[in-house]
Symmetry: C2
Subunit: 239 residues, 2 copies
DNA sequence: CGGCGTATTGACCACCCTCAACTGACGTGG
DNA sequence: CCACGTCAGTTGAGGGTGGTCAATACGCCG
């Protein structure tokens, strides 16, 4: 469960919260952090129970979900590499975290993290700004959930994923024939994120494929053929 | 538009962000803040444009909205007395703020606010914690928007309002016959908050009234007759 | 009284949900 | 090697919730 690697060669060192720490601090950071791996589908942290550690996502995708008593579930956020996971300044998390794909985390005790923030203004500042961005993202998604049609919802999600993947794989190789994109979510998870049912997601993806906007490969991959049309479908203006 | 009052007698002094400032700072704070009043329906701040000030809500209710190109609108947050309005560390706000009722704000320049946070760790900390709470609240609302039925949505909102009002008016007088609650939102605004249409909100309120859970008075007031049943209606478990 | 804006009510129907069957990929075991 | 089970995804038929459009009621104010 727990392995060791050096902060100096960390893949997300440049963009995670700890990018604000000076090099001299890295060896100390290395000592107080530890890594964890999860398989797709595994539970990471939950509501209710005491939660005494936080983490940075090293690789993979984490989904944050909220569940009602009768089982209805809503994904309320996705975390990618370099994103922060956990709820400082509270004893528990108000939602559950689960591995959507295989996930590597770089963990540390919540108390250590709070101490780090106390002594490193830059890091505290970055954390604050990222939290503000999370508020913005959550509210953007509220607009999607409350006002968009199924077609717009699906297009919006695919667009988001395509952008996420494009920025992640900064290869620059063969960009023209279509943007290839391996979705980190199953149809069921897409539905849970969009406030839809699986069948509706499947049908809308089918429609986008028939319209030539995207192609689907076996499994979870899609190829964006016409990103402009995808973007227009994501917020159709009455036409 | 701009009037002066002393921080020392401020109504939200005990709960706003500035409650973390020592008394010695109040006269200085008094000098750099100014007040503004808005009538119900007035625009406060918007997307796109440069936004160089932030504020604390002194009284009234502010709604934060997002609008799509074709006019579809979603309320993404409500601010009550002592809540903070504005988006520090960014040049503009990603959503519009509008007065839902008559509103009084205590404003200061964004730069001054950022400076204050820089020099007052307690205030910075409180701001961070409140921002984290905003994330939680937004995600809670995502669950409502994505998964709840119209009946549950309306009940959830009425419950929220009843609790807000109960805590605000800590009178303790005549609690038994029914919790009186003056809604700060029109039916249209309730619909915009819940991801519904006005007609649906109106019908669901009618059903709750017929069921004896609430009573309605002329205008926007409601009386909660059975808060337990209202809470159960807000998250029905398959019954 | 008439005009205006908000709330309510009614009739209709479309979008999405529900339930069900089917397909294809994958793994296991005979 | 194929039969079989499983699981994710797809497709189809039908129904219900909530949207749409229109008329009416109500409160407010000149």
């Amino acid at each position: 469960m727990s392995l060791q690697r050096s902060c100096a060669v960390c893949a997300v060192r440049a963009s995670a919260l700890c990018c604000t720490l000076p090099k001299e601090q890295l060896s100390r950071l290395n000592r107080i952090t530890y890594q964890r791996r999860y398989d797709a589908g595994q539970f990471i942290m939950g509501t209710g129970q005491q939660q005494d550690w936080v983490a940075t996502v090293l690789s993979g995708v984490v989904k944050l979900t909220k569940t009602m008593a009768d089982g209805r579930q809503q994904i309320v956020g996705l975390l990618f590499a370099a994103d922060f996971l956990g709820r400082p300044f509270a004893s528990g998390s108000p939602y559950e975290a689960e591995a959507a794909t295989a996930v590597e985390l770089c963990c540390l005790e919540r108390q250590s993290f709070e101490d780090l923030m106390l002594h490193h203004p830059d890091m505290r500042q970055l954390f604050l700004e990222r939290t503000l961005n999370e508020v913005d993202a959550a509210r953007e998604w509220m607009l999607l959930l409350g006002r968009k049609t199924a077609e717009e919802k699906v297009a919006s999600l695919l667009l988001l994923m395509a952008q996420r993947v494009r920025s992640a794989t900064a290869d620059g190789s063969a960009p023209s024939p279509g943007l290839h994109c391996e979705l980190p979510l199953s149809r069921t998870e897409m539905a849970e994120y969009l406030g839809l049912r699986v069948e509706t997601v499947s049908r809308q993806i089918g429609r986008l494929r028939d319209a030539g906007v995207i192609d689907t490969e076996n499994g979870r991959a899609i190829i964006v053929r016409d990103i402009g049309r995808l973007a227009r479908t994501a917020a159709k203006e009455e036409g």
